[in-house]
Structure formats: C-alpha cells, structure tokens
Symmetry: C2
Subunit: 306 residues, 2 copies
C-alpha cells in the first residue's frame, strides 16, 4: 500500500473544493485520516451523511489534534478569521495552507495568526466547476490541473516539498510563484473573465421580460457559455474582487482600451482590422488544446441537450 | 419511406453550416437529391471526396436546375454577390433562403436580385461549433436547436410552411420574427459575446511571451471558455460586425455602462452590490438549462483533458 503523504489532514470549509480535497485524499491515499470543519451546521450534517471525513464532530480542538496539514477552503474573505480561530490548536511542525483564488490578501490576513513553528504555505488549485457545496465535489477534480503554491520568503523547504507531494498525489501539477505574480496572472485568466461574464449576463437581465425570454431561448449562439461562468458562487466571487482589487482594475483598464479599439473598427467599418484581430486570437485556443488544458471536441463535446 | 420536403436542394457554400445541412437533409430524408456549389475549388474537391452531394459538378446552371430550395450558406458579406450570380438559374416557385447570422443586411443585399416568382425567405439556424469547413459539419447539428425565419411582408404562406417543414425535418425548432428584431436579439445573445471573447483573448495576446504562456497554462480558471468562442471563423465574424453595426454598437453601449458600474463597485469595495449582482445572474443560467438549451453537467461535462 502507498504511504500517505500526511497522517492526519484537516479541512476547514467543505464546499466544492474542500469536499473534493477530502474525497481525493481518500481516493488517492494522500492522508491516513481526514477531519472536516465547517461553520455551517447544515454543511456538517451533509458531510456526515456523505461520509466525507473520519472526524466530522465539528469540534475544532478535536479535529485539529495531530493534524499535520490543515487546508483552509473557505471564501477568501473569511480566511483571516478562520486562521485566528484555529490558531490555538495548531501544532508545531504542521503545515497551514489554503485554496484561495487570491494570494496577496490571503497572506496579509492569515500570516499574522500563524504561530511560530507552524508552516504557512498558501496554495491555489486551478480547478472547479460552476457548482458549490459539499455535494458538488468529486475526487478527480484536480487530475491534470495546476495547483499554484506561493511560499513566502524563507519558507521551510521540507514543508513545501510535503505540500507539493500532497497535491501531486491527488493528481495536480504544481508550480511555485510569488503571491503578487499569481494575483496578476489570475486577474487576467480568471477574475476578469468572470467579471465580464457576470456583466454580460447582467446586461441581458436588465431587458424586459420578452427579450429576456428570447435571450434564454436563443442562448446557444454564444451567450450560454457566459451564463455558466456567471453561475459561480456569488460569495466566493465577491471576495475575490474585493481582495484582488488593484490587479483586477488594471486588467480591466487594458480590456477597456482594447474594446474601445474594436468598437472604433466596427463604427468605421474597418473590415481588415477586424479580420486581423479575429485571426490572431485563434492561435491561443490552439495552444490551450495542445497543452491538454481543454478538450479539442467541438463545442466542448457538449452532450446533445435533451 | 418518408416523403422528402423538397425534391432537389441546392446549397451554396459548403462550410460548417452548409455541409451540415447537406448531411442532415440526407440523413433525415429532407431532400431527394442534393447539389452543392462552392466558390473554392479545394472545398468542391473535399465535397466530392466526402460524398456530400448528388451533384458536386460545381456548374451553377446544372446544380440549380430543378432546385426547389436553394440555401445560401456563405459568409454574410458575399450573400448579395451570390444572389446576383445564381439569379439567372432560379426557377419560378423555388425558395431562396440563407443561414446568415444577420438578417436586415442580408435582406437588403439579396432581395433586389431575387427574380419575380421566386420566394425569398431569410433564415438563421442558431447552431454551430468553433470549427469551420466541410469536414466540420455533421448531420445532428440542428437537433433541438432553434432556426429563426424572418419572412418579409407579404411572403407566400405555402413557401414559408415548406421552409418550416424543411428545418423541422432536420431536427430544428422554428420561430418567425422580423429581421430587425432578430438582429437586436442576436446582437445580445451572440454578437456581443463573441466580440467580448475576441477582445479578452486579444488582451491576453498583447502581453509578453512569459505572461502569454502562463495564461495558456492556467486557462482552466475561466479564460479557456472564451478562447473557444474566439476561435470561430474570422471572415464570418468580420462580416457579422460590419453588417449588424448599429445593433452591436447599441448593445456594446449598454454593456459598457454596466461594466462601469461593476468597476465602480470594485474600486469602492462595495461587497453588497457585487454580491447582489452576482446572485441575480445565476437565475438566467438555471432557465437555460431547464429549457434544454445547455447541458446541466458541471463544466459542460467536459471530458477530462488528457
């Protein structure tokens, strides 16, 4: 049998990501035993019903006793409060990590609460779906996805290696970078696309009832792709925008500049400019498919709607 | 055996849509025989190799002889020229239709060339993938998708009914509306989303090599969905924006207003405003899935990338 990467894993927050880590840690033997904590009694009940944890008592002191790896899987906005709450129970040598989509703000909020002798190593798995909650998770979520670690200066090398091992064991590929760099790259690849998707769905929502129902009916022409992204968890995304404000506003500024240029081409009837623009964007898609980051099946291989 | 809706079907332009109509017409017995014309010798060769047509001679006079339904499946920008070129061969009682994503401009460009006694009924099937060309088509493309017809004032009722039958036979659901209304709805559900997707991929493309490669690597966080849309055919989309300029610019204006409001919320740290906005957009997604216009599978049921 494979040796677990950690003996006892504690997960705080049993949503899509937390419950997927629990399932994956069990499925791929990344932890010998798993404790789960969640602030919501309903979620804790569901965790017990689904049998996701060895310890689902909801008692922080018990859950964290002997935990070698604690992963905070809550929305970014409450990471600091969670760190403060669990700090008394963290044992020397343990690793505290998280899964937040923003890293600079998480470091600022969590680091002050981490006791000496405990290793804080922020992380962000680039994985998810538009669904939320403990029922939405699944063990294979991280297979072939990237998990970005942003260890702080002077981070303990052995602890980082252990966290790399953990993510690798549950199927992820790992890359390390600084929190600042992470927040800039993700502002572009994730935060801005979500903002734009939310915005365009909101624009449609503002129309009267008749247009709204036509938008739904004829959504297959492009719009429906945006609605999937705009169906993501509102609390999670509120916190991301509040906590990565500067990088998001910078990317939004660039986006707006570019959009003005396209708008001008349309107004002026600049067919060559539009054609050139639409041609060079094709190459990026090709690279993404070639690198195994998306399916090459037409229309995402969507099942025929019934 | 089912009686074909038309005896001879002629398709002009054998791209994704034209070749899909040919395949579907054969598969579902919508036409007894099929002729295909395409301005590109390479495409005509491929049409013959794929065996898509009964008549793939490439001779317009021959192809259109006895054709009861002629569907123009070229980019919108050349519809007028195509109509002018085929006009001499159109027989009284025949139906001329198209599949263009813009209807007002197509009516303006095609109608003047349609001889008296020939019925011109514009159409737009809301179906497609990000791929192009005769190899990309497939018979099931229109199953459970909408096809919008925009018959002109005083259109022949029997001819309209025949075209409705044709689309129904190959699997589509049909709705009729005015060209102006079509262009407004599609500007919102299709043209604006494509413009936004092209734009955001363009924004990423403008970064230096390192950031660009990271964008590709970490695209699974939202960005990759946009790249699929932005991989669509550049000529088709150039023509759409040039030919639906006013409706697109109007929708873009609304989009920009809404985006400014979101930008202000982020800058001011208005968490409640962001949360409320992100919550109401969830409902539209639910309606789209309920109406069978998209899969409910998480992440579009994407296959695990290999």
């Amino acid at each position: 049998m494979v040796k677990p990467v950690v003996d006892r894993l504690a997960i705080v927050g049993a949503g899509l990501i937390g419950s997927s880590i629990a399932r994956a840690a069990r499925e791929y033997a990344a932890a010998r035993e798993i404790a789960i904590l969640d602030a919501s009694p309903e979620v804790m009940t569901r965790v017990r019903e689904l049998g996701l944890a060895d310890d689902a008592s909801g008692d922080a002191a018990k859950a964290l006793e002997g935990a070698g790896l604690i992963i905070i899987c809550t929305p970014v906005g409450v990471c600091g409060a969670v760190a403060q709450a669990i700090a008394p129970y963290l044992e020397p040598g343990a690793i505290v990590s998280d899964v937040g989509s923003v890293k600079g703000a998480v470091v600022a909020q969590v680091a002050p609460h981490v006791p000496a002798g405990v290793h804080f190593i922020p992380a962000h798995p680039i994985a998810g779906t538009e669904f939320s909650g403990p029922d939405a998770g699944f063990a294979a979520l991280f297979q072939n996805r990237w998990s970005i670690l942003t260890p702080l200066d002077g981070a303990d090398k052995d602890a980082v290696a252990r966290l790399v091992d953990f993510w690798t064991r549950i199927g992820a590929k790992v890359e390390c970078m600084s929190p600042e760099h992470h927040d800039k790259v993700l502002a572009l690849t994730s935060h801005l696309p979500h903002l734009i998707a939310y915005n365009i769905v909101g624009t449609a929502e503002d129309f009267g009832e008749q247009t709204r129902s036509e938008v739904i009916k004829f959504s297959a022409s492009g719009f429906r792709d945006f609605t999937r992204i705009a169906a993501s968890d509102p609390i999670m995304w509120r916190d991301i925008f509040l906590n990565n404000r500067e990088a998001v506003l910078e990317m939004l500024g660039r986006f707006n500049e570019d959009l003005s240029a396209l708008q001008r081409m349309i107004r002026r009837g600049d067919g060559q400019g539009l054609f050139d623009f639409f041609t060079r964007t094709r190459a990026i898609r090709r690279s993404i498919v070639e690198q195994g980051q998306d399916t090459s099946a037409p229309d995402f291989g969507r099942g025929k709607p019934s």
